[in-house]
């Protein structure tokens, strides 16, 4: 713990009665949240804890009781010594008001149940009820709360309101206005979080429809969060729609590896295919959001170009042992100063730790990572597109300014001083080398998931695993250690990077490291790295661990 730890401010607690039981909550707690904490989940559509509360869906209505006061303004107490209540004769929304001292809440009284049934019926009368072909089916709040408050028969004999369908409201979003329940979560998200107030409501009354500003599209880099927020099937991801029923998706908690922010994610996969990636709440990292760019980057995993087999000197070598032995032998033929290692800020800590071991084993001193920078924003997207620059620095594989050693390596290749190059998860042509430079090398060992100029020039091509195919840890730009989890298996003969590196080291040293599983690598890494001492993948947990502040970036 740091020395500047201050005593936390005392939080004022208020007494609240929920369904007859008294609880204490910190002042400032929303009634709807207090009920959740008391185990009484309140159905809601428009309310979202990270957005403003418009109170428009009316689903979260509860009965509220104010403490009964004696004429001298003192709470009137019941036989249990607790305040009695004056119950407000009309149901009240619970999403927009904070708890107050002595408040009474009834979450399931007849009045409340009747009110919610009424609201749900209203929400459904003009809804198309096209659940069988709706992407939201299975994770739809209309379906969910219909279980609790729905009716088997409709009283609605009229024609439903017709609204626009299949609206391409943005390059990645398809809108079905008929399914929309006008909760305005999407509008509020775009206004309050994405800072691009581009969608709104047009028309009036039951004809209200979500629409985009006439001169614009819903094309923000955060647009797909509106799909996650949409409690019904109105906003759908054009990428995901009609691809897979959500209940078949195996959900794996992981992190996004598209920039140094490390947004927490859920990878949705079935039968070794990733169908979607959605943000997972982590208030220390990404709140509940992620950018479209990071979200859709998973498609590379399923590229038809994926490298499926080791290749040695232009020939497929399906025998990994042979391929690794060949690579090791080729590397060992050179003196340490004739070898350089280029690693990647996209590698996990475990891979970087092993890459450092490999460099050490070969006696190599010339190494660095390849910086990748692009425009970022003030929301989540970092200019550093490497997800683990901090890890590369911590594990000694990055120059203090990432990429600072690359010009020397490039010069060494060009002038012939360097004859053998190991490129892990990068394309050397993005590290200051040209294809012509690469052609000068005698040995070029590379790991990759997709073909590039380096794989084309490689003497030893070792196909590796994509981010959703592996376990491991990364450190984000704020020094938070987080973990990746495996959602799918790698295709073909492609192998997890840590296994490739262990195999390569073992082939170079002709001895066993004794690593049977990634946990063994973690154990060795944490033992050797004071900043990670005592940590393990399970200790990192779903939400990560904040390391002692390290100078990231």
């Amino acid at each position: 713990m740091s020395n500047e730890a201050t005593t936390p401010k005392p939080v004022e607690l208020v007494n609240v009665q929920i369904d007859g039981v008294w609880h204490q909550f910190p002042k400032g707690t929303r009634i709807i949240e207090a009920c959740s904490q008391a185990g009484k989940f309140i159905p809601r559509y428009c309310y979202h804890p990270k957005l403003s509360s418009p109170g428009n869906c009316r689903m979260c209505m509860v009965e509220l009781g104010m403490p009964k006061m004696t004429p001298d303004r003192k709470p009137e107490l019941g036989p249990d010594g607790k305040p009695l209540h004056n119950w407000i004769p009309r149901p009240q929304i619970s999403c927009a008001q904070d708890v107050s001292e002595g408040l009474g809440v009834r979450t399931a009284s007849p009045m409340v149940e009747e009110a919610r049934k009424g609201v749900l019926e209203f929400l459904l009368i003009n809804h198309p009820l096209d659940c069988p072909i709706c992407d939201q089916a299975g994770e739809c709040r209309l379906q969910e709360f219909s279980y609790d408050y729905g009716q088997a028969k409709t009283r609605f004999l009229e024609e439903k309101v017709k609204k626009p369908k299949r609206v391409e409201i943005g390059p990645r979003i398809t809108l079905d206005d008929e399914r929309c329940i006008l909760c305005t979560r999407c509008i509020r998200f775009m206004r309050e979080v994405a800072k691009d107030d581009v969608i709104g409501i047009v028309e009036r009354g039951s004809y209200n429809s979500i629409a985009c500003h006439p001169d614009r599209k819903l094309d923000s880099n955060y647009s797909l969060n509106t799909v996650d927020l949409c409690p019904v099937g109105a906003l759908t991801s054009t990428d995901f729609r009609f691809k897979m029923r959500v209940w078949f998706l195996k959900e794996t908690k992981s992190i996004c590896t598209s920039c140094a922010t490390g947004c927490n994610t859920v990878i949705g996969a079935r039968e070794n295919i990733v169908y979607r990636q959605t943000p997972r709440e982590n208030n220390d990292v990404n709140q509940a959001w992620m950018c479209d760019y990071g979200r859709l980057n998973f498609h590379a995993l399923h590229s038809p170009e994926r490298l499926l087999s080791p290749v040695v000197n232009g020939k497929e070598q399906p025998d990994w042992k042979a391929a690794l032995a060949s690579a090791a032998a080729a590397l060992k033929a050179f003196a340490p100063e004739q070898i350089a290692v280029i690693t990647s800020g996209k590698m996990t800590n475990e891979e970087l730790f092993l890459a450092a071991q490999l460099a050490k084993t070969l006696g190599v001193s010339k190494h660095d990572i390849v910086p990748h920078a692009d425009a970022g924003d003030d929301i989540l997207l970092s200019t550093d597109r490497n997800p683990n620059t901090a890890g590369a620095k911590l594990l000694g594989l990055s120059a203090s300014t990432p990429g600072a050693n690359l010009p020397a390596i490039a010069e060494g290749v060009r002038n012939g001083a360097i004859k053998a190059l190991v490129v892990l998860g990068e394309d050397a042509t993005e590290a200051g080398l040209t294809a012509a430079d690469l052609a000068k090398l005698t040995v070029l060992v590379t790991t990759a998931i997709l073909p590039n100029a380096t794989t084309a020039a490689a003497s030893h091509l070792l196909p590796s695993a994509g981010f959703a195919e592996k376990r491991g840890s990364m450190i984000n730009k704020n020094g938070r250690l987080q973990r990746l989890n495996r959602a799918i298996q790698s295709p073909g003969l492609a192998r997890d990077d840590w296994e490739i590196l262990v195999g390569l080291i073992e082939a170079v040293t002709d001895s066993s490291l004794g690593f049977a599983a990634i946990e063994d690598v973690v154990k060795a890494m944490t033992a050797a790295t004071p900043a990670l001492a005592g940590l393990s993948l399970s200790k990192i947990g779903d939400l990560g661990v904040q390391l002692e502040p390290i100078s990231a970036r």
């Binding site: 109170g55 009316r58 209505m61 009110a115 929400l123 004999l157 009229e158 309101v161 009036r204």
Partner: protein, 468 residues
Amino acid sequence: MPAPARRIPHPREKRVVFANVDREGYTPDIACYLRHGGYEDLKKAVTMAPADIVNEVKASALRGRGGAGFPCGVKWGFIRPGETKPVYLICNADESEPGTFKDRYIIHQDPHQLIEGMIISAFALNVHLAYLYIRGEFPLGAKILEKAIAEAKANGFLGKNILGTGFDLEIYVHRGAGAYICGEETGLIESLEGKRAYPRIKPPYFPAVLGLYQCPTIVNNVETLCHVKHIVRMGGAEFAKIGTPNNTGTRIVGVSGDVVRPGYFEIEVGSMTLGELINDLCGGVKPGRKLKAIIPGGSSAKVFRADERFTIKVKGADGALVEKEIGVLDIPMDFDTMAACGSMAGSGGVIVMDDSRDMVECLNNLNHFYAHESCGQCTPCREGSLWMKKITDRMLAGGGVESDPATLASVSNNIAGKTICAFGEACSWPVMSFVAKFPEEFAARAKKQVPPPTPPEFLSEALTGGGH
């Protein structure tokens, strides 16, 4: 356009706010207003302490004339003394409740009375920026008000250092956005802020705390603000002597529908019964017709059936409350008795229906209005108002089914009390009361036992292009 015919006030009227309305030779310019004692009450007001004006308004027991009848002094009292944020005053001139036609005559014929009332109110509330939000459909009224404001400014009643007191005030006319909901005070505030007129949730957005631009804001009706001027002139206690306790002053009622002489009348609150208003002032229902129903306070108010009886409490000779049975026509024209009888004095719009009227058709007319005007922000009103309209549409078209009256009652019940603003009540109260009070007419239109036939465009032949 020919000038509208001037009405001669009925002898039983007591014209205070309407004193200059229909006055022979009276014109809306400031010279005419000044000739008739205009701005003298402002001159008196600025010699008073603002808090004293607020106290006079409290003493007057003036109730808001927009519809809800909320005590004006209590509303003003919500502004905290020593408020550090700017305080705004908004005049709600979005008069759009069906059956209501009073504010427009003040605006058209005596605009300076309103301006003076606003300046006095602003002075009392320490307001330096006031808005006059006028219904979009009143373009002429807006023009007249703009001119009146310019005249008041030119004469030193508005602008900087009003009457040498150091008090500054600007009033801006803002033309409404053409929707009934813009008259709901928080919808009005949103609209004034340039947004869609979606009413705000209360709590937390009570205008007196978090109103225009999240600052304390008082929203008053045109007629209410005019009354303030007269309260300053006669004093709150004197004003409170007009009318009955808790139902003080005069108010303007507009009678429309099936009466011989429809029109507006300024009456002392509680000074006459609904029957006297209809029969004496309006000449009763048309010859050969019988009274059937009355909506007493604008289209949102619950309807009365002509033969309805009520038991109300009145003060007996010894001062104790005794129960008394009265008929519809015996209801005094005040706030409290009207509410005790299950409806409301509302905006003062009295709509009379005679025995030639089909109650399903009348309700359908209102349903059309509310379905068209629902802003659609919150679920019950958005979906329910259109549903109710579709049901009465279908009933009128001959497709009524037996369950329709019960469905109408249930749907209206699922709206009232469950919405963000009072529009929920406004659209559901007519349905509730019409269905409950004229069950025979609704039953007669709801005879079918099966759902109506599928409209032709949804028959399978139409969908499959005539079959295979």
